[in-house]
Amino acid sequence: MLRPRPARGFLPVPGTPRPSPVPEVLRRAPEVRSKRFRFPWVTMATSFEWPWQYRFPPFFTLQPNVDTRQKQLAAWCSLVLSFCRLHRQSSMTVMEAQESPLFNNNKLQRKLPMESIQIVLEELRKKGNLEWLDKNKSSFLIMWRRPEEWGKLIYQWVSKSGQNNSVFTFYELTNGDDTEDEEFHGLDEATLLRALQALQLEHKAEIITVSDGRGVKFF
């Protein structure tokens, strides 16, 4: 299925530079190979496991009782994150979200109203899993793991493989051979950027510009 790759560390002619990585088009993860990349849940709806709350009608009404509401919102947040994780949706518009089966249960004939969706998204933003991409709050970036956590994972891998004080391109980190087993393999660029920015704040990395994109230097 996949084109055979040269073994790690093998170079055809000593001294020649490492061959450039295989273009992204051919090296896509199997799950997202379908043409309808924009609405992956169409192909994946069956594999996703909905929580029991999804089948509970009061879940789609914002509860007036404070304690009950807290539980409800917590359940919503985890549902949104797991949904986006499985469908590899990193950014979405609010319109899309409204129509998606995430907030729409057709079987129950229940829909989470717009104000409540806004409240859920606000809750996610407070937790650090969501970031608004524009001022009108019409599209957002969703990160099922917080950028700080991603940053920590990346830094752990870098330290483990002893590649401190080395420079990586963004592409290498997410799609490089070395990171294939890592969790952050295939991570989208926006999230990666924020993760590295978080690391930068901790003075563990520095984002630099290289010839064909951006790179990062770890300390």
Binding site: Q53, P57, F60, T61, Q63, P64, N65, D67
Partner: protein, 449 residues
Amino acid sequence: MQGGERPRVSEQRIWKDPLPPSLFPPHSPQLQAAAPPPPGGSRGAAGPPGGATPSQCGRRPVWRLRGRGERDWAEPGPGPELRRRRRRRRRRVMDRFVWTNGLLEINETLVIQQRGVRIYDGEEKIKFDAGVLLLSTHRLIWRDQKNHDCCIAIPLSQIVFIEEQAAGIGKSAKIVIHLHPASSNKDPGPFQSSKSSYIKLSFKEHGQIEPGRIRAVGIVGIERKLEEKRKETDKNISEAFEDLSKLMVKAKEMVELSKSIANKIKDKQGDITEDETIRFKSYLLSMGIANPVTRETHGSGTHYHMQLAKQLAGILQVPLEERGGIMSLTEVYCLVNRARGMELLSPEDLVNACKMLEALKLPLRLRIFDSGVMVIELQSHNEEEMLASALETVSEKGSLTSEEFAKLVGMSVLLAKERLLLAEKMGHLCRDDSVEGLRFYPNLFMTQS
């Protein structure tokens, strides 16, 4: 307006007139302008009230020779000689009028205009009815409202004296205009002769107040009188209440005084005699202070409400037990008033009485929910138990609306809804609000992980 177009009424009179028609040239505005109006009576004439003077020339010799003067109209009762003279020459009033086209001359300006005016020749009604009367600086013009061509005018110099006649029942207000006798060589008018020396203008639609006159006559006069009467009444009332406000002030002082004395009585019992105390208390009673010592502030704790509360407790015991120990206040109101028949309770009295139920340690109590609903319930009624049973019922059925719940338990929908809302507040239930309505479910958010 040309000479040929005259209304038919006056036509007849013209033909009957012995005077040759050559004496009356066809009317034209230039002629009107060229020939100044006949000499007006500077002596005794009211003159144009507007203040502008008409153009006058001196008296014509013809007129003077005839010896016309104020004598004709000034005397109240004509003597025999005058009567003879009058018979000889009929007085012409309407002949003072001339046909005109209604246009104003160069120096002439319009002072005032009034609709709905009728002209009377002396006391007689003539055909000139319902017209517009225009007063200009030079003339008094009357134009027919229906036939705009019919327009007659009289120079203001002809007017000697003006008086008003108040309106009566069936009569409209009138202005009587006394005129000079006409000259023979004036321009043709609608009438060649008329009997009296004055004309009357009848105003159907008010307006008879001449500018400058302030006398209270006529419809406007009546209105003014009414206004004055109203002002006077107003003044009288405020004067009367002035005394009343003084009385209120005095009464307040009296009440204060009585209160202070009552307190003194309380403190120093021995200073005044027994019967004086009794007398004083009777005075207080007559003023409305029943027992100054124990009277509390208005609105709470009155004897009446206390008694009423006790009565309610007696009446409501049985119905409450029938209805499961709880009843809304509106139901209580209906029940109690129906039972009473006469001497019905006002809602305010009922609420005040119910507020005292708990204080009086009666077996009922008033309870107010968050939404404002007020209910009477038995003291033995425990809402918590009710909530627990409600939760059980809802869990059995999976989910319930307030109507279904009311039907199941056998209570009114209002109270059922209150109970479910209370259960939600306690955290036992959660709600599902959709287009299908409001349903309540057991709160699985809390019970399930």
